[in-house]
Symmetry: C2
Subunit: 200 residues, 2 copies
DNA sequence: AATTTTAGACTGACCGGTCAGTTTAAGCAT
DNA sequence: ATGCTTAAACTGACCGGTCAGTCTAAAATT
C-alpha cells in the first residue's frame, strides 16, 4: 500500500494544480494556491514534484492518459469509418459538456507549448498520437471504399483542428451558437466531403 | 505634427511589446525588455501607457485594426459569396505566410481572454465583428440561391474557427501537412457543403 | 514486551531574487 | 515654458524554492 499513498498524493496535487491553473494560468498560479487548495504543505508538494514546471508537465500527462483511453474506447466500439468519426466527434462534445475545464486547460497547454520547449515536445507527442488514431480511421475508410481518395494526413489534421475548435466555446460566450451545433455542422461538412456518393 | 509624434511613439512601443510578448508571453515579458527593444526609456513608456496591461490591451486594438481593413478589402473585391469565402481563406493563409507572428500572438490573446475580463470583452467584440462579416457573406449566398439554406450563424462560426485553426501550425511542427494544404482541404469541405448542386 | 532505530512523509518559516511601477533631476525641442 | 525624453536609483510586495526539524508506524534490537 506504499505505492498507493504516492499515487493518492500525486492525484491530489495534480487535481489542485489543475484547479488553480484553470483560474489563473501557469505563471499567475502560485504554489501557495496549490498548497491551500490541496490541504497539503508546501514541503509535501516539493517532496513529490521537483519544481512548479515539473508539476505542470505531469498535469499534461494526466490529461493525456485520461483522454487517450476514452478516445480509443469510443473508436473501437464502432465498425465503419464514418461511424467511428461520428463517435469521435460525439465523444468530444460529450466531454466538453461534462467538463469544459478539460478544454479550457488546453488553451494553457497550447500557450505553454509556444513558450517552452519541454511543453512543446510533450504536447507534440500527444497530438501526433491522436493524429495517428484519426489517420488510421481515414485510411480504413478509404480502403473499404467508404471514403473518397483524400490525403489521410491532411484530413486527419483538419478533423483534429476542428475538435480543438471547441476551445472557442470555453472562452467566448455565444448566445447564438452552441458547441454541439458547431460540431454537428462541421461533422456534416467533413463527412459529406469524405463519403463516396453511392450512385457513381 | 503633435499628433504624429504621439502616434509614432505608440507604434514604436506597441511594436516592441508585440516582439517581446511573442517570445515570452504576457507575464514573462518584462517592461525592461520593452524598454530595451524600443530604445526608449521606461519613463516614456509609462508616459504613453498607464500600465503593462493597458499597453497590451492596446496591442489587441492595433492587431484588430490592421486585420479588419485587410479583411474588408479582400471581401469587397469579389462578387459571389463563394468567391468571397475563398478570398477570405486565401487572405488568411497569405497573412500566415507573410507573418506567422500575427497568429502566434492570437494564442496569447485567447489565453488572456480566458483569464482577464478586460481582454475577454475586447476580444469578444473583435470576434463578433469578424463573425458579422462572415455571416453577411453566407446570408447573401443563401439569398442569391448560391448556397443551400444553412444556419448562417453556425456556419460563420465554423468558418471562423477553422481560420483560427491556422494557429496550430505556429506551434507544432508538422512535416506532413502545410498550412495551405489544411486550408485548401477545409475550404473544399465547407464550400462543397454549402453550394447548391446545379442539377437538382 | 519494551525500547531503539529507521525511513518515508510532512511541515512552514524563511531567504534571495524579481519586477511593476515611481521618483528624481536634468536635458532637449519647439 | 511646455511637452517630451532620459538614465538611474528606488520601493515594496511578491513568490519559488529551501531546509532544519517533526511526526509516525513499522522494523530491528534488547
Amino acid at each position: 500500500m506504499k505505492e498507493n499513498l504516492k499515487n493518492k498524493r500525486e492525484k491530489q496535487i495534480i487535481h489542485s494544480a489543475l484547479h488553480v491553473a484553470l483560474n489563473k494560468g501557469f505563471e499567475n498560479s502560485r504554489m501557495d494556491d496549490i498548497v491551500k487548495h490541496s490541504n497539503l504543505s508546501k514541503g509535501t508538494i516539493y517532496y513529490y514534484y521537483r519544481s512548479k514546471k515539473d508539476l505542470y508537465l505531469s498535469l499534461v500527462d494526466h490529461w493525456f492518459i485520461e483522454y487517450s483511453t476514452g478516445v480509443l474506447d469510443t473508436i473501437n466500439k464502432k465498425n465503419t469509418a464514418s461511424n467511428q468519426l461520428k463517435a469521435l466527434f460525439a465523444y468530444f462534445i460529450d466531454q466538453y459538456k461534462k467538463s469544459p475545464s478539460t478544454f479550457k486547460i488546453m488553451i494553457e497547454f497550447w500557450r505553454m507549448s509556444r513558450l517552452d520547449k519541454d511543453f512543446n515536445t510533450k504536447l507534440q507527442k500527444i497530438y501526433s498520437q491522436f493524429l495517428d488514431y484519426i489517420t488510421e480511421i481515414i485510411l480504413s475508410g478509404i480502403e473499404d471504399n467508404e471514403f473518397i481518395d483524400v490525403n489521410p494526413r491532411i484530413t486527419a489534421l483538419s478533423i483534429l483542428i476542428n475538435i480543438e475548435g471547441i476551445k472557442w466555446f470555453t472562452i467566448f460566450e455565444n448566445s447564438d451558437v452552441e458547441a454541439h451545433e458547431y460540431m454537428d455542422t462541421i461533422t456534416d461538412f467533413i463527412l459529406n466531403g469524405l463519403k463516396k456518393k453511392s450512385n457513381e
